[in-house]
Amino acid sequence: MTDYQLPESLAQIREDFLALEQRDRLLLLLEFSNELPELPARYADHPDLLEQVVECQSPVFIFVEVDDADRVHLHATAPKEAPTTRGFASILAQGLSGLTVEEVLAVPDDFPDTIGLTEAVSPLRIRGMTALLGRTKRQVREKTAA
């Protein structure tokens, strides 16, 4: 896998974080947090469709869609009192959305450890994002296993 190339969207996010000082990385994470879109109405009305990511320190729920063109869309919701978790979800939602099933499944499981946030938020907290990525990939596998 030495020739593996991270999809452009994720590579750009990583580059943006790594270009900043630690303190500014937190502010960029806050920007992501604020950009987390509202759930589409069809899910907001159906909490039963959402999966809770229990590894995160605050309640966060995700739902993965795979469209007819085999493109992945990640939806997530977390309370405003949990900006770090919202930020993690937003990074993945923006970084993964529109990628193909194959591309999403190929994203390294340790991607969250590589974007320069471990020191800014602490290794313990970054594990919440690892869990989000893991559950997203599992949902993608389940939804394409037909």
Partner: protein, 300 residues
């Protein structure tokens, strides 16, 4: 030059009412020379979304813990941290945070390890501040650096290590985790599976009083009579002259209980076992009890 204490009648029943301030008091005293307000949260970004005007941020993980060893920062590190936040040795520090002041209490406990004398909690934390119409700003203050003396941590009085707990067995122990963790049904706290252990259960003889029971719905501490019912006769059975150790998973929730027992009930000999279950539940050959009963002191 300490800032005058909050004389609200509802605090006067506690043993050390000077350890609490109300939202009204804080609104009236913001900007008073000698007062520094500190926010300490579980969520590392919450401060950035908006905080009490003038408040500085201290993060339990990235600021108060040593980045390599499982321990707190040392005297030099603490002096550097506080000096950079504009806190002097004689500053009045008021700490507040999310989750019923869970992390704020933890920060207060660490401040106490270094003997910082005047450190108080904002009763109810962020939730109460918001409910009472308190203002937030995203403007981060840049306090002028001050000299904070290098004072070595005193771990002997309010901190317990694993061996201290072994020697303590037979005296009151309070396990402040959820019943599921206490019973041994799970090796992690609900919603915190990343802090797991190899074994589940509790330390023999520990009584289970989940920390959150000390907080009312609005996040403030419960009245003294209710706290007494929880921890003294009829509850955990703690008496005035007992030595007590509280623990949880990493020592944060039990800091909240330590604050209640020490400053609200006025018990003089309470220690927090910060190694807590993440150490005990993975340690070799320490006694463990599973199930809802406290269990007995092991005979060997």
């Amino acid at each position: 030059m300490a800032v005058p204490v909050d004389t609200s009648p509802r605090f006067s029943e506690y043993a050390h009412p000077e350890r609490l301030v109300s939202t009204e008091w804080l609104k009236a005293n913001l900007g008073t020379p000698g007062l520094v307000v500190v926010e300490s949260d579980e969520d590392v970004l919450l401060y950035e979304t908006g905080h009490i005007p003038g408040a500085v941020k201290i993060d339990w993980h990235t600021d108060l813990n040593d980045p390599v060893q499982r321990d707190y920062i040392d005297g030099a590190g603490f002096a550097e941290l506080l000096g950079s936040k504009g806190i002097s040795r004689d500053s009045t520090v008021v700490i507040y945070g999310d989750k019923n002041n869970w992390w704020a209490a933890y920060a207060l406990w660490v401040f106490t390890l270094f003997g910082h004398e005047d450190v108080r909690l904002l009763d109810g934390g962020r939730v109460k501040w918001e409910a009472d119409g308190g203002e937030y700003t995203t403007e981060v203050p840049s306090p002028a650096r001050v000299d904070y003396p290098v004072v070595e941590r005193d771990d002997s009085k309010i901190r317990a290590y694993k061996d201290d707990v072994l020697a303590h067995l037979g005296n009151p122990l309070v396990d402040v985790r959820s019943p599921e963790e206490y019973n041994g049904e799970r090796t992690t706290a609900p919603a915190y599976p990343e802090e797991g252990t190899l074994r589940a259960g509790h330390i023999p003889t520990a009584k289970n009083i989940p920390w959150g029971k000390a907080a009312a719905e609005d996040g403030t501490f419960r009245p003294l009579a209710e706290l007494n019912a929880l921890y003294r006769e009829g509850g955990a059975g703690i008496k005035d002259d007992d030595t007590v150790i509280a623990y949880c998973r990493i020592g944060e929730r039990s800091s909240h209980t330590w604050f209640v027992l020490t400053h609200l009930l006025g018990l003089p000999n309470v220690r927090n076992y910060d190694g807590s279950w993440t150490e005990w539940g993975s340690a070799v050959r320490v006694p463990i009890v599973k199930g809802a009963e406290p269990g007995a002191v092991p005979t060997r």
